[in-house]
């Protein structure tokens, strides 16, 4: 009889705190033109934005539901409240944020993060950003970090140039939905040559029952600039299904570098149907660090479009699927220019009937000569009630490519355990060491606070029980 390590579920304790709902403005359930107009009016948006929303609504109604991947038949979009505004205006001092909202964030460690002098924190609660602050020296250098609504009004020219240009409302049904009802999110603009030496952070959190979150993140890193942006997501647990259909658009200009880190821990009733894309120009670089732990269903494939010569991308991802979760994650890399390179490292763990699915695409267009790419997928299964699937698609459009791909699925090998045990390490500790080592490539990519949070999130009960 083979012995197995049992690893405890993510401890959700502090993440599943529900606050009393107290909103000044909630739109009716369902999606109609009147609702879109109401959202736009409430946000005091320019005409072009309203028109874009209405166009998106039209596309949304016409587009079919995706027929692959997760089963979305339980998702009733008409019943999700698309816009919920918390009963507070934007605050610039932490002390002015209402007590219960503040408590939630404090539980999640947001102010601590800022006290540790991180460059800036934006926290989104339900659909609006409630708190934003950034170090003054960055402001002086021309770095803009604000919420999307303010950006639409105050930096209209830049927003208009980039907004929904990479992810259009015609990409798929949920990008159309996003275009129609988007609300909140972060806007970051880093001028040419500015190197932001501390990570900027933003935290999303859903509190209202049955509310969808459709935040839009737009980041532009100009020529030669550098930025690290961290996004964290956590929502309390509700019985009514929640939908998250955000959009992240990243523009990395010539010679610029952007690192985009996400730790996602939505509650287990969330449909996380997020779209993320990055365009990388000549000699630019995008680095994704992605952790998917929460949600009931995730379909998330951050895409890197290497469109300038010498552009590069790196994706480091971990997915942990536990009981009742179907996490369909991966990444897409399109090599659309010569001398581009990419690295994908994906890890997944499934346990207790969870289903982890890696779905990836690696494409080199006919003109993308001299491409170098490697894809590595590793999956760890902790029991045989769980499922782990890997489907990496590779499409090569010319002969000047050097592609390496490896995928492995398996469990903790008995031989490794035996080796460690022969060195005097107890079995449970040996297994724990191996799991920790498996997750390590991700934790080491994160700043300390987030690495701690990630560990907190997993709270892998590493002493392991034998059964």
């Amino acid at each position: 009889m083979a012995k197995k390590t049992v690893i405890a579920d993510v401890d959700r304790g502090i993440y599943d705190v529900i606050n009393r709902e107290d909103h000044r403005f909630v739109v009716d359930k369902g999606l109609t033109e009147a609702i879109i107009r109401e959202i736009s009016r409430e946000k005091n948006e320019p005409e072009w934005m309203l028109n874009y929303r209405l166009d998106s609504l039209k596309v949304y109604k016409e587009k079919p539901m995706p027929t692959w991947g997760a089963d979305l038949s339980d998702l009733d979009v008409e019943n999700i409240v698309h816009y919920v505004r918390p009963n507070t205006d934007m605050q610039h001092s932490w002390d002015d944020v209402p007590e219960d909202i503040k408590m939630t964030f404090e539980r999640l460690g947001i102010p601590e993060a800022e006290r540790k002098s991180l460059a800036g924190v934006g926290a989104q609660y339900d659909s609006e950003v409630v708190y934003h602050a950034m170090r003054d020296d960055l402001k002086a250098q021309g770095v803009i970090y604000t919420d999307m609504e303010s950006a639409v009004r105050e930096h209209e020219a830049i927003v208009k140039k980039y907004f929904m240009k990479l992810i259009t409302n015609r990409c798929h049904k949920f990008s159309a939905l996003h275009g129609a009802v988007w609300s909140g999110g972060s806007f970051v603009y880093v001028p040419a040559g500015v190197k932001v030496d501390f990570p900027l952070q933003s935290y999303f959190r859903l509190n209202a029952k049955g509310a969808g979150q459709f935040e839009h993140t737009l980041i532009i890193v100009e020529e030669g600039a550098e930025l690290h942006f961290i996004e964290g997501c956590s929502a309390p647990k509700y019985s009514v299904q929640n939908l998250h259909a955000g959009a992240v658009e990243l523009f990395v200009k010539e010679g610029a570098t952007l690192r985009y880190s996400t730790i996602e821990n939505w509650s287990r009733n969330m449909y996380n149907l997020n779209t993320k894309r990055c365009s990388v120009e000549k000699n630019g670089r995008i680095e994704w660090v992605s952790g998917s732990f929460g949600s009931k269903v995730s379909m998330l494939y951050p895409m890197s479009i290497l469109k300038g010569e010498g552009a590069s991308s790196e994706f480091t991802g971990i997915t942990f699927a536990a009981k009742g979760q179907y996490l369909d994650t991966g990444t897409k890399v399109v090599h659309a220019a010569p001398n581009t390179s990419s690295v994908v490292n994906s890890k997944s763990i499934s346990k207790d009937g969870g289903h982890a699915f890696y779905r990836g695409l690696l494409r080199a267009t006919p003109n993308a000569k001299n491409v170098k790419a490697t894809v590595n997928c590793e999956s760890l299964m902790l029991d045989n009630r769980s499922k782990s699937d890997t489907v990496p698609i590779i499409e090569m459009g010319n002969d000047q490519v050097d592609i390496g791909h490896e995928a492995r699925i398996g469990r903790i090998s008995d031989e490794t355990i035996f080796y460690l045990m022969s060195r005097g390490i107890p079995e449970a500790e040996a297994k724990a060491m191996i799991v920790r080592g498996f997750v390590e490539p991700i934790t080491k990519e994160l700043p300390l606070e987030y690495a701690v949070e990630l560990n907190h999130l997993i709270t892998l009960e590493l002493e392991g029980t034998i059964g």
């Binding site: 999956s379 489907v391 592609i403 469990r411």
Partner: protein
């Protein structure tokens, strides 16, 4: 009415199955098998009760292909193997304008046999081949199945092979695709029994505007089962290839090992090479691995050969032939090896 499947990656001609069935003019010649192998033409048998075999299998080529081939086939044999046979059974088919065939190989307990299917073109062009082969390997059987396709440049070849491997049985498959404009090949093996094993070695050459669609599936159902897929190919001209390798581990297949490897050599900048390797796993105590590499002919090897005074063209030829040799060397029949080498030489010129 048989509908042409609509595929995203390989474009098939309109009305693929129409207006041809009365022109089945393929000629099939079976070498005299040893006494413990019987060969009965399927035309004389009622095959309907045996069609259950593919029920659990994926219909990669579509229901129309399956129905068409099952209903219209005039060619094919029902082989039953018992005991140990040393000489391979050779089934040589001159495809003519149209060949629709249905073969069965039933390997009784402990049977040991090799079957070679060789498809060649006649002067009739274009030729079309639609074929299904089923292999039932009963406990302890050891079966080798070799398929060699050497059709002409305007021909098409659609072939599907279903196999079921019982406890302790072993199935070795070799698929060599040298000719044809459209090559669509599917193999699916179900490793039903404990300690069952299946391996598939695939070789192909694509040039001009040729299209290749290769789907290889190994489904592990029994414990301690083993599978191995190895695909090696060369793409030239503006040829297009799709490789789908599926390794499935069902719950109840602990301690199974499945591997798939794919190596593609690209000789032209206009080629399109797609790969979709899937590992689908519902059992934790297994090893599933996939590795792929796509690239040009190894520069180090070329450099070495060229530094010995061999021209670049000849050096590339040698490197490719050496790569093919790994698979070709396992083919037991000398005639087949020579035919393939000759076809490869012709294509590399």
């Amino acid at each position: 009415m048989y509908q042409t499947p609509k595929w995203q990656r390989v474009k098939l001609e309109e009305r693929l199955f129409e207006g041809l069935k009365d022109h089945q003019d393929a000629r099939c010649n079976v070498s005299q098998p040893e006494h413990h192998i019987s060969a009965v033409p399927v035309e004389s048998l009622d095959i309907a009760p045996a069609l259950y075999i593919e029920d659990a299998m994926t219909k990669h080529l579509g229901e129309s292909f399956l129905a068409y081939t099952n209903e219209q086939a005039k060619n094919g044999y029902f082989f039953t193997a018992k005991g140990r046979s040393e000489t391979p059974v050779k089934v040589q088919t001159a495809v003519g304008r149209l060949n629709i065939e249905n073969h069965w190989i039933i390997a009784e307990e402990g049977a040991h046999a090799t079957f070679i299917f060789d498809y060649s073109a006649t002067d009739e062009a274009p030729s079309k081949h639609f074929g299904i082969t089923r292999v039932i390997a009963k406990p302890g059987a050891d079966i080798t199945l070799i398929k060699v396709q050497r059709l002409g440049e305007s021909d098409s070849f659609f072939d599907q092979c279903f196999s079921s491997v019982a406890e302790g049985a072993r199935l070795r498959m070799v698929d060599i695709q040298m000719g044809a404009k459209t090559k669509v090949v599917t193999y699916e093996s179900h490793l039903e029994g404990r300690h069952s094993a299946a391996e598939l070695k695939s070789l192909y050459y694509g040039a001009g505007g040729e299209q290749l669609d290769l789907s290889f599936t190994m489904r592990h159902k029994g414990s301690k089962s083993e599978s191995d897929i190895l695909s090696k190919g060369v793409l030239d001209g503006d040829s297009k290839k799709i490789f789908r390798g599926n390794l499935l581990f069902d719950t109840g297949s602990p301690q199974s090992v499945g591997r798939e490897r794919e190596y593609v050599t690209l000789l032209s900048e206009k080629v399109q090479s797609d790969s979709i390797p899937a590992l689908l796993c519902s059992e934790d105590d297994v090893i599933g691995e996939h590795a792929a590499s796509v690239g040009q002919v190894d520069e180090m090897k070329l450099f070495y050969l060229m530094s010995r005074g061999i021209s670049e063209r000849e050096a590339k030829r040698l490197v490719i032939k050496a790569a093919f040799e790994e698979v070709l060397g396992t083919v037991a029949d000398e005639q087949v090896r020579n035919d393939v080498t000759e076809a490869l030489d012709r294509r590399l010129d």
